[in-house]
Symmetry: D3
Subunit: 150 residues, 6 copies
């Protein structure tokens, strides 16, 4: 097993030096889930809020958070991403929302943290908007789905 890349030879935190890595088109996809009550899901999807506001807010919050990743994660490089998308899936079990986020950039380092941050903040936004009606939500299974470069 290797060494932790963000820790230099003296055991001190530093940004990984990517100055000599090639600029490549890099993409990452991450996903996560928020478990909630079926009634909460109904409220989110109901006509009442047919304008999709909870999901629209979560989507935008995720995208805006992806742009802030370098500000939130201490040793992440600040990256002017060229694309970010956040989508939602509703399994038939009606017990959760699956959140998927992708990010892209032409840069010297990848964007998996951007995709993971988008998922996390989209989930937190759903939590925030539903917490008055659902006291048992849980955000879970946030992970990287794929990471490519070319």
């Amino acid at each position: 097993m290797g060494r932790l890349t963000h820790i230099n030879s003296r055991g001190e935190a530093s940004m990984v030096d990517v100055s000599s890595k090639p600029v490549q088109l890099r993409e990452a996809v991450a996903s996560g889930e928020i478990w909630l009550q079926t009634d909460t899901l109904k409220l989110i999807q109901s006509e009442n809020i047919a304008k999709g506001n909870v999901l629209a807010a979560a989507r935008l919050a995720g995208i805006m958070a992806a742009k802030k990743t370098g500000e939130l994660i201490p040793l992440c490089h600040p990256l002017p991403i060229s694309h970010c998308e956040v989508n939602f899936e509703f399994p038939e079990t009606r017990d959760r929302i699956i959140i998927k986020a992708s990010a892209k950039i032409s840069a010297q380092t990848g964007v998996e943290m951007e995709a993971l941050t988008a998922v996390s903040v989209a989930a937190l936004t759903i939590y925030d908007m539903c917490k008055a009606v659902d006291k048992q939500m849980r955000i879970t299974d946030i992970k990287l789905i794929s990471k490519t470069k070319k």
Copy 2:
């Protein structure tokens, strides 16, 4: 079941109006987990990085993110929190780190989103600092533990 508090009578998103709520001392505690390989955990805890840098970075990132909650979550109130703490536990199974965060404020609204955001960003920071050596990490079970006011 009630209505979603962040959606007004026209189904449009808005910040909940807390202007007439009393100022009270409010506290919230949240937790979450990051699953990783035992070898990754060893590296984090080993003498090599005995200065505790991964956890120190995650702790600070969590605290700093708590202060940014109102900036990340669209309809959260901006809250000048009076306290935030992030701690870590290492279950004997050696397969994950449990993250706990608390936040406090004297204000008209509570700080559960601050505690949840601290946990999420602390977890993302561990992920970021270990992702070069561990490709299978997963952030899971982010939830509210308690919420009090007095």
Copy 3:
């Protein structure tokens, strides 16, 4: 006519000292307009984008900007607002969208800049999302509607 309050006796910019002003519940309402083509308005309101995403995005962007006012306007006090709402009206002439924003706080100073900033950024967001189909939009008539304290 008085002196400019943000300029001290030496003609230098400084934040107005509100330390000795009373904490009062303060509210402000501002409005503004974005002129666009009828076809653009149709696209915004059409089924195609029935989820209301342009307006949902503009509404959230306006609310989030209100929270950032103290960061954008150099001599504005940073204010943890207790409420913000952004709404849209569609005059029958079908040539523009009227944007209204309100903000509230219990504080030593008012929130008119927060309301005006919410209107401005909501308008810029509509502009951004429609600029590929409409090259002649214009943001206009941004002004304060009312300002109260009690």
Copy 4:
């Protein structure tokens, strides 16, 4: 008329994917106006405040806001701009200030939102600094003047 570029095929908001667009030198110029009383204009330009503080503050606020555009407008790409300038003109009618802003970058997408944001925040800053002496200001006619790439 085309489709709204920030809305994907499912009617959901997303950042436009500019990953495959060429890097080009792009420039945009925007303008806007703030209407105020002649006396307010005199105060701004008078010897009293001959250090130009109101305009200096508005200029800097506009430039700093241009750098924050990607943070304010939900679906704007974060862009490390290579130039920004904000200038003021004073029509002989003495009833308003005309604000002009330009922005430049070598990137895969343009900077009209940066120029428009600079104008808007410069105007809001003038409003903020003069609002104690002038209750009838109005910000108007914010629009794109030109947009070029080569």
Copy 5:
């Protein structure tokens, strides 16, 4: 000598809990110096740039940074300050600029970091704006002058 207040009993960083401290009017004054060549000072003060732009920019940057202190210093409380002022003095030796900043708030904790941050960023701004003509500037003697509460 006491213990470091930001380090808890396990040696871990955390925000000091100020929840039970009284709200008091607190003020702090800090100062610092930037040493530069007499010719640089002349350029700053000369008619050429009589609009005071270097100092106006430094003043605003200092004030804006004071508002961001809680975002920059990991364990600082986010504080909605009620006043901030940045001033400059020019000793007769013509070899430096003395920067003084004050901050005020009614809160449960003081604002010395806000005053020190304002001084530091004002100095960095002077450095930035003069670095093309002066390669030997030095920022020095940043310290707290006074700290009061009542």
Copy 6:
């Protein structure tokens, strides 16, 4: 002696236009000092806080501030830096900590402000974390050590 580069021909502040400068690998190193009591230094380095939290916090705060330089210094270009490192030295006199920071980027303009900002904010963080036990700290001698491009 030349003209101040950030002041245009009318004496107005603007970002230097770097659009036509070549993209080069640029690096800068800066240093600074914080003077403190020997007892404070002992506390920082003692077993009690052997996890290095004060220095870990200062290091991370410095790195994160480097990424925010364009947001703090009004006319600095926003730069997605590719590397930043902050280190500490402890002279045998035991009366201060020397802080060194380096920054790197491939861009059209250099990163000396990023290195200087990292040093300044790392020093302010040490100040903040030690201010309860040491009332006489002083931050001093912040300067550029080297600046290279190739």
